[in-house]
Each structure stands twice: as C-alpha cells, then as structure tokens.
Symmetry: C2
C-alpha cells in the first residue's frame, strides 16, 4: 500500500493520547508518529515528525492551543490541524477555525469521530463533530431572531425624535443637514445630539453612529 498518513497528537492527558493511538491504529490509512503532552516546541516537533495532521487539545500547559494556532497562522505550515476541546463553545470554534484549524472535536465525541475527522481533513474538507454541527445549525437560526419584532428596542429608551436624529447622524448627515431635513434649527439638533451622548454615555458622534449600527437602527 501507499504511505500512511502521519498523525501527531498533542494533549496533556496521557490516557487520551493512548486512547487515540489505539483507535487510530485500527485504521490502516493512518499512523501516529508522535505526541506531546504540552504546547512548548510543539510546532518544531510536528514538523520534525513530518506529520500530515496535528490533533491538538486547546487546553495545554506551557503554551495553549490558541497560541500555537496563532503562531501557525502567521506562516505556511506543511500540516493541518484538528482541534480537540472540552468545550462546545461556538465562539471558540469560530476562533480556532479563523486561526486556521480544519476540524473541531469535543472530547466527548473523539471516540466516535476521530477517524472520520482525519479522513475529511486529509481530503481537504473541514470537520465538526456532531455536537458542534448541531450547535452551528442552531446558532444559524438563533442569529436571525428578529421574528415578529418589527422595531428593535435599544437597551436605553430613546424618544422618537432622538431615534430620527441618531439615525441621520449614523447616515453621515451633518448637524446642518439634519436641521434642514427636519425643518428645525441647528440648535435643536445639537441639543438632541447632546442628550443622546449623555443618555447613551458616549463621547462622540462616531460613538453614536456605532451605537446605531450595533442596534440595527440603520441598514449597514
């Protein structure tokens, strides 16, 4: 047969390493070429071992997985990374994917899906374990939560007029333009602006604009 695909493991739990070694041994396409119990000099070791895939825990002593990924993402590397983690936290997944990881497994699901993950990632795909797939799908729905909610209600109550003013500010209208548009004096506009700044505890009109964007007061 052709060369086996080389896997390097990094996790501070020896037992998990042993477990993964055992599972990976059952598939003849892969072989474990080494492992580390911490993140120090990990990249060096992986490169030295000529591994194709690094399966790495995020929580490691000395240097954690995020740090390793950050370093990796700053230059080209000859291997791909699958991240292991105890946490099924969406933000963390997003973070590690952004930093270049190709797969994410929670530790509960390692047993079921490590081989599948290795295959997918080796084929250039990305892989998320079942739990994370479900989470991702769920977040996709929940991100679009404006159901039946016509108006977005900001945390702090703004009056109708203030809403109009802050929107125009965010739309890059100057004070004068606003006053002309609304047929009021610039003094009034300024007063509203001041009240907005105070109410929202912001320092500048740029802050107001950002507030408007964050709270979906304007289309961005």
């Amino acid at each position: 047969m052709t060369e086996k695909i080389k896997v390097y493991l990094a996790d501070d739990h020896q037992m998990l390493i042993e477990g993964m070694k055992a599972v990976i041994k059952t598939n003849e396409d892969f072989e474990v070429v080494g492992y580390s119990l911490n993140g120090m000099r990990l990249i060096e070791e992986v490169v030295k071992a000529k591994a194709d895939i690094l399966v790495m825990d995020i929580n490691m002593p000395e240097k954690d997985g995020i740090e390793v990924l950050k370093e990796l993402s700053s230059y080209e590397t000859p291997f791909k990374v699958i991240v292991l983690s105890s946490y099924d936290d969406l933000k963390l997944v997003k973070e590690v994917i952004k930093l270049g990881a190709r797969g994410y497994l929670t530790k509960q699901s390692v047993g079921d899906s490590i081989i599948e993950a290795l295959i997918e990632v080796h084929n250039g795909e990305e892989y998320f374990c079942k739990i994370m797939q479900e989470k991702i799908l769920a977040s996709f729905s929940h991100n679009t939560q404006n159901i039946n909610q016509v108006k977005i209600v900001p945390q702090i109550y703004l009056t109708e007029r203030e809403l109009v003013i802050i929107k125009l500010i965010a739309l890059e209208y100057s004070g004068k333009m606003i006053s002309e548009k609304l047929f009021i004096s610039t003094n009034t506009v300024e007063t509203h602006r001041k009240n907005l700044l105070k109410k929202l505890n912001l320092k500048s009109s740029i802050g107001l604009a950002k507030y408007a964007i964050k709270n979906n007061l304007i289309h961005f």
Copy 2:
C-alpha cells in the same frame, strides 16, 4: 389514538401536492387537511382548516411565500411553516427563517425528509434538509475566511500609517488623542485624515469609521 397532526400544503405544482399527500399518508401521525395552488387567501384557508403545519412553496403565483411569511410575522398565528423551494440559496433560507419559517426543504429533498421535517417542526424544533445543513456548515467555515491572512486588504490600498489612523478614528479617538498616541503633530493626523477621506471618497469621519467596521479594520 390521539388526534392527528394537521398539515396544509401550498404549491403551484399539482403533482408535487399529490406526491406529498401520498408520502404523508404513509405516516399515521399526520393528515393532509387541505391544499392551495397559489398564495391568495392562503392564510385564511390554513386557519379555516385548523392546520398545525403549513408546508409552503416559495414560488407561487398571485402572492409568493415571502409575502405570506411577512404577513404572518406581523401577528400571531396558530400554525407553523415549513418552506419548500427549488433554490438552495443560503440567503433565502436566512430570510425565511427570519420571517418565522421553522423549516426549509429543497424540492429535491422533499421525498426523503418531509416526514422528518414535520416531526421536528411539530416538536418545536427547526429543520433543514441535508443539502441546506451542508450549506450552512460550509458557510460557517467560509465566513471565517481569514486563514493565514494576517492583514485585511481593503479594496483601496491604504498605507500602514493610514490604516493606523483610520482604526483609531473608528475607535473614537479624537485628532488630538491620535497625535498624542502616535507622537506626531495634529497637523499630520489631519493630513492623513484628509488623504483618507479623499482616497476612500468619504465625506466625514463617521464615514471613515463605518468603512473601518465594514472592512474589519477594527473589532466591532
């Protein structure tokens, strides 16, 4: 047994209606209580039929599915909606979910998953067909595409210094604060600001801030 779950179908293709009726008949938990070939007076009909779930095509004559959903989302309705569509377009899914739909099936996958979708949605879950699930997962990865890309490259080339300045502006630093932070004169800061406004064809610092946000120059 207890009452069956009532399903109402809306699709301008009679054959698809017949197909769905046949498939749904195989499951004794559900029954089809009516159907429409267009969107006119659809809501009225569904309510009259006391349906629990509406399975609705997006492309319908007279009044399309989006319109129906918009109307539905403006008040409470006693039934849930699963959307059928020929298109596997993510934006469309997002749109219909935002408008209150609980499930999304492409027409290719109706046969395989309509029952599954009905069960899930009836249990208060959301349901996406296989194809869409894959699309959603893929988009999740691709949205975080900055892999190995340390610097974000805006459409228009900004110099290092200009990038620093525009970021600080977007972070609500005043000209003076910037000058103090960077140990340069306010004149210089103003010059950079002017150059940025001209380069990016923007009218105000709020425009600069929005540009910085849009182009991921700052964390927002």
